[in-house]
């Protein structure tokens, strides 16, 4: 029997429909009744009068259609929420799940998306551009093509359902989703508006997949009874009235199924439960952003998108699926946007075009080649990375204060700047690295810290070092102690070494590879170390040129004092180990390292340190005896051998050392 292969689950428990409002049917049981349009009209009028609401009439209409109980909406009171530079107005009520859409840009996937900043990114699966503010209303404006939006939304929906499914069905959703009004300029007129989730994607998607929907309900073909899984794009393509009709249909079919008399069989109970689950998943509590008031009234809605994103970041800090990379990505975009908004990207000249170019290059979603050109740079990924490092290692009161507040830190250290630099910088390589694993390894290396203090302490600018000749120029100036050139060379070299996998986080086996100690420091410190030596600078310059030409990197040979091809048996991890070894011990040849005098001196140092430690240990013992008031002498037999060793040390050291000069006072 086929049943015998399944574990015995016992009797299927009956799942109850949880009432969400006061509507009762003739039998006194709770029933979802999608309210008639007349009720929504009244709610619309009320909403229009509510203070702090800044929505277009069509968004108000849609808002009234969202609510399970428009009357509740009429009575609801607006709440105000503080954001870094303004106040958001929100309304709380319960809404129908199919009436809302997930976040258009799922920020959880930010670290893995493909970006326009990467010249090799496939067109079509790009990260969408950032939503823009509306000029009058508290609404996010999405300018991408509707198809691209649909594709992203569905991809995000499938991803969150897999990564972070929520337990709904037996229970209703209890924690509010945060919604924001959105407009799609690239869409057909009938579906140009929506409410999208800023927070609560996982809850929303987990509900949507529980709703039993037949394809015919969406297409209008009454004969098509194929059950389908509801994807957000199906809903987003529906006009408002049709979408609401779908809700009505789902509720009606489910209630009808529950109204049938129970047959008492397992299969019947399971079907009944499915309907109950669908009804429990049909509504979610929402907190809808309906207005925004900037501290500076002149700015209008300019900083509304930033305010919305700040809500998101604060909400998700503890959610485990929101990886550090994605969080940095969100924060980094906020920083870039805020810098732009506050006029800190104009480079001292009030040139809006340049500031826009700098912002676009930083964020890397759109207009990157154009932006680079305006900044006088070729569209090379490493030059863009350098530009990002330059922008985010700036110093200055206004800059520091703004970035600090964006990052939520009291101080601004290198490590704080690092996260955003890494995420924005890597967007230039989002599609061109071979495998996701490779990208992870690059990110891991950069996360150790890819900056060094000189980048912050010195004023520097990115130079358009796009040719081999220009790189040679940088190198020669760096040899001549030109800090500006050294920093540009360092950043470009860092990118070249890390992206090709030749500089990674220190591996456990590296010491074994090189047979000595290595510098186990951050990537930034390794670059700083390389910049301090002539061979290091040669190696950096060569790495930039070779990685651009997609040729294998060369190594510095200390015997011949020149760059040589890597030995054939070297893997990139071997290169990394030798590089770290060279930073620790200098680019010295085998012969130099084996210099007997230097080895003896190092050995003497170790001996002297050990003697010092021995003295320290004795002091510890004496102090301990003092504290304990111990007067007893230690038994001779216990210390005899120690005296022997100490005498032996003195005698043998005496034999290999000069004797003490005789004192004049004798």
């Amino acid at each position: 029997m086929s049943d015998s292969s399944k574990p015995d689950r016992g009797e299927t428990r009956e799942i109850q429909v949880i009432p969400v409002n006061g509507v009762r049917n003739a039998n006194g049981e709770f029933e979802h009744r999608v309210p008639p349009v007349s009720q929504t009209t009244k709610a619309q009028t009320q909403l229009g009068k509510l203070g702090g609401v800044l929505l277009s009439p069509s968004h108000i209409e849609r808002l009234a259609h969202l609510a399970t109980d428009p009357q509740e909406l009429e009575l609801s009171r607006a709440e105000r929420h503080r954001t870094p530079f303004g106040w958001l107005t929100t309304l709380n009520f319960r809404a129908y799940t199919p009436m809302i859409s997930p976040a258009v840009e799922n920020d959880r996937l930010l670290a893995d998306a493909s970006y326009a900043a990467d010249p090799k990114a496939p067109r079509g699966r790009l990260a969408l551009s950032m939503p823009a503010p509306h000029d009058r209303y508290a609404t996010l404006v999405h300018g991408d093509s509707f198809e691209a939006v649909m594709e992203t939304v569905d991809r995000a929906a499938i991803a969150v359902q897999k990564d972070n499914p929520q337990d709904v069905g037996e229970r209703i959703v209890e924690r509010s989703l945060t919604l924001v009004p959105a407009t799609f300029t690239g869409s057909p007129d009938s579906v140009g508006e929506d409410y999208t989730a800023v927070d609560g994607n996982c809850r929303l998607i987990s509900c949507l997949v529980l709703l039993p929907v037949e394809r015919g309900w969406l297409t209008g073909d009454a004969r098509d009874h194929t059950r389908i899984r509801l994807l957000p794009s199906y809903l987003m393509r529906l006009p408002l009235v049709a979408r609401r009709e779908l809700v009505r249909k789902i509720a009606k079919v489910a209630h009808k199924r529950l109204a049938q008399l129970p047959k008492g069989t397992e299969a019947d109970q399971r079907e009944r439960n499915e309907s109950a689950i669908a009804l429990n998943a049909l509504t979610v509590p929402v907190q809808v952003i309906v207005g925004y008031e900037d501290d500076d009234p002149q700015r209008g809605m300019e900083r509304f998108p930033a305010a919305v994103r700040s809500v998101l970041v604060r909400m998700n800090v503890s959610a485990k699926k929101f990886s550090a990379g994605s969080q940095h990505a969100v924060v980094a975009e906020e920083v870039a946007t805020a810098l732009y908004d506050d006029g800190l990207l104009d480079g001292g000249q009030p040139d809006k075009d340049l500031a826009t170019a700098r912002r676009d290059v930083l964020i890397g979603r759109e207009q990157v080649p154009e932006g680079m050109r305006l900044l006088g740079l070729d569209d090379l990924p490493d030059l863009r990375f350098a530009q990002i490092v330059q922008e985010l290692t700036r110093k200055g009161h206004a800059f520091n204060r703004l970035v600090r507040s964006q990052l939520g830190k009291t101080g601004l250290y290198l490590s704080h700047r690092n996260g955003p630099v890494v995420e924005l910088g890597l967007r230039s390589y989002s599609a061109s690295v071979e495998t996701p694993k490779h990208l992870d390894s690059i990110r891991k290396a950069l996360d150790t810290g890819c900056l060094w203090q000189d980048l912050v302490d010195t004023e520097w600018t990115v130079e358009n070092a796009a040719t081999d000749h220009a790189i040679d120029g940088l190198r020669d100036r760096a040899h001549a102690n030109d800090t500006q050139a050294a920093l540009v060379l360092g950043v470009l070299g860092m990118v070249a070494l890390v992206v090709t996998g030749h500089l990674r986080a220190a591996a456990g086996s590296a010491e074994e590879t090189v047979g000595t100690t290595i510098a186990r420091t951050s990537v930034g410190q390794i670059i700083k170390g390389l910049l301090e030596t002539g061979p290091g600078r040669e190696l950096l310059a060569d790495a930039v040129k070779r990685s651009r030409a997609r040729q294998p990197l060369r190594w510095w040979d200390s015997e011949s004092k020149s760059l040589v091809e890597q030995p054939s048996d070297w893997a990139t991890s071997t290169f990394n180990a030798y590089l770290r070894q060279a930073v620790r011990h200098g680019f010295t040849s085998e012969a130099e390292r084996n210099n007997p005098a230097a080895k003896e001196a190092a050995s003497l140092t170790r001996f002297q340190e050990a003697v010092f430690t021995a003295k320290d240990r004795l002091m510890d013992l004496i102090e301990m005896r003092d504290e304990n008031g111990t007067d007893d002498k230690i038994a001779w037999l216990e210390v005899e051998s120690t005296f022997g060793i100490l005498a032996g040390i003195t005698a043998r050291l005496g034999k290999i050392a000069e004797s003490e000069p005789l004192s004049d006072s004798w």
Binding site: Q453, D457, A519, K528, G529, E532, T533, V583, R584, H585, G586, A601, A602, L604, T605, R606, Q608, E609, V611, F612, D616, M619, D620
Partner: protein
């Protein structure tokens, strides 16, 4: 005064400075074989190993300078000033310091090794015992 905190064993003399200078070898920027009083400027070096001594010229400690951006005077004197602000025992016991100025391009790792070597030769700790234990 309470018990001495900085108990060295080696006396700093020009002869001992010569030995230490030879350890530093090619990285030495300038030969300065005399003590500098605390509060006095050390020169214009960017990197250095410095050796504070007490009133009897006994080496108390050995340190290296940290990278500084706005240097006002030599790196060693900047670092000594910071030490003086840190603890009472240093103010009470240190009276002068000797400097081994290093070339500005000395790699940080080399500076670290040199510091270790000089400390070992002088029999002074890199971290004072009083702080090491707590």
């Amino acid at each position: 005064m309470s018990a001495l905190v900085w108990q060295g064993v080696a006396t700093m003399t020009p002869e001992r400075y010569a030995v230490l200078a030879s350890l530093v070898g090619p990285w030495l920027e300038e030969y300065r074989d005399s003590p500098i009083w605390i509060g006095e400027d050390s020169g214009n070096e960017r990197r250095a190993i410095y050796i504070p001594v007490n009133g009897e010229s006994v080496a108390c400690y050995c340190g290296r300078t940290r990278p500084e951006r706005a240097l006002c005077g030599g790196a060693a004197s900047v670092r000594i000033r910071q030490h003086m602000a840190e603890s009472r025992s240093k103010r009470e016991e240190w009276s002068a310091y000797w400097v081994l100025p290093l070339r500005a391009d000395t790699p940080a790792v080399v500076v670290g090794e040199l510091e270790r070597t000089v400390a070992a030769r002088l029999g002074v700790p890199l971290v004072n015992r009083r702080w090491r234990r707590h």
